[in-house]
Every structure is written in C-alpha cells, then in structure tokens.
Symmetry: C2
Subunit: 140 residues, 2 copies
C-alpha cells in the first residue's frame, strides 16, 4: 500500500506507525508515579538503556547482570507494570520491547518544569539588569 505514496509521505506514515504503540491503541493512561519509581533503580535504568538500542530477550537483559534470573524477572515486571516495557513470548523465548510513551510522558513533565524555571530566570535577570543600569545611572 505504501508504494502509492511519495517517499516523503511514506517517511511520515512510517514514523507515525513506529511511534504507535499498543498503549496508544487501548488508551490506557500511563502513571508518572510508576514510571518515576521504575526508573529509580540502576538495574532497571540499565534495562531501559539496553532496550532503546534494540529489543532484547530476557536472557540478553540478564547477561551483563550478576543477579539471579528471578531477580531479573522481578525488575522486568516493575518495568512492564509501569508501561515502559512490554514483552511477548515466542516458543520459549520472551522478547522485551521499549514503549517510548513512558519516556515521552516523563519528558513532557520535565519540559513543563523547565519552561517555568526559565521564565522565572528571565524575569530575575531583567530585574537585576535593570537594577544594575539604574545603579550605573546613579554612579555617573
């Protein structure tokens, strides 16, 4: 079907498809609480870092870790419950995928805080610069 579109349009459609996740489709709302809590452990951040590069099996994720498989699975469960990761089993192998929507939610929250902070810094700057100009005026 894609071949009926130009390369530019196909790029946009594909980008849209790649960003579409099962969470978008069933409309479940991700919880910022659960996302922040899930990322509050270096092992789980390590798993997310690994999954940003490519999907990985549970074995792949466990390989660099010096912990038991049940512990690995427990960390994975926290990531899955938070919505940051989903997994699918084919035969005996479970493959894990990153759900970027979780990180996007986090990024939106941070951007909102940054916007507030920068607006405040700008106001403070203006105040201090105006004050300094007035002081200059006085000293000459």
């Amino acid at each position: 079907m894609l071949k009926y579109y130009g390369r530019g349009a196909r790029r946009m459609i594909l980008r849209d498809m790649l960003n579409q996740t099962s969470d978008d489709l069933d409309g479940t709302q991700m919880s910022l609480d659960a996302v922040f809590a899930a990322l509050a452990h270096p092992v789980r951040r390590g798993m997310v870092e690994r999954l940003t590069r490519a999907p990985a099996t549970v074995g792949d994720l466990a390989a660099p870790l010096t912990m038991s498989l049940p512990s690995v699975v427990q960390h994975l469960k926290i990531l899955e419950d938070s919505g940051l990761v989903r997994s699918a089993k084919t035969g005996r192998v479970r493959t894990c995928y990153l759900e970027t929507r979780g990180l996007t939610g986090l990024q939106h929250w941070l951007a909102a805080q940054r916007a507030e902070w920068e607006a405040r810094t700008d106001r403070l700057e203006e105040f201090l610069l105006d004050k300094d100009d007035t002081d200059d005026g006085r000293s000459t």
Copy 2:
C-alpha cells in the same frame, strides 16, 4: 562590578550565576536513583512544580494539601535528601528553593535515551523505505 561589562556580557554572567548552585560548588554528586524516587509521588512532584515558579515557605507548600504538617515535612525531607530542594531557616520560617541541577541530571539521562531511540528509528525507517523501493522495482 557587573557595570564594567556590556549588557550582553552581563546577561551571560548573571545567567551563569543563577544556574550555579551550592551543589555545583561542593562537588557532591546527585543520585539519579534518589531523584527518580523523589519524583515518584504526586505530592512531591506538586512541590517541585510549585518551587519552579518561586521559592516557598513550608507553610506555602502545605497550604494546598490536605495532609498533616509532619507528612508535608517528611515529603520535603525526601526532596531535600535527593538534592532537588534545599531549604534555609530565617527566624521561625523555613524557605524552600528548587535546585535545578537534579532536574538537569534527569534531563541528560532522558536526552541520551531519546538520542539512541531516534537513531534506531531512523535506521528502521531507512530499512523499510529501501525495502519498499525494491518491492516497487519488482512490481513494475
């Protein structure tokens, strides 16, 4: 001293001073674990949101909340321990300030994940578009 510099230079110096925090100076390393954990509660995120706009007293932070003062103080302590907030007491009043370095650390981690993810999306796109071009070639 600032009056010896042009307005542009003074703006840069002030911006630098405003971003400088006591944490930068004593070189303590903020823990991403503690920052993520601190932000995993809506009350604490609410306090951070309030403090991005302006410093606030403990009373200010408690005002919109329907919880006891000891609970408010406990949430504040978690924010302070994470390095996201610092406070100073003048007489009987404790004023809380946002330490932006905590949010900056978080932002850096997120940006690194996003960069990895986008590089991967680009590679996947190229692969799918090239594949589609080849398919077109075959069908004509």
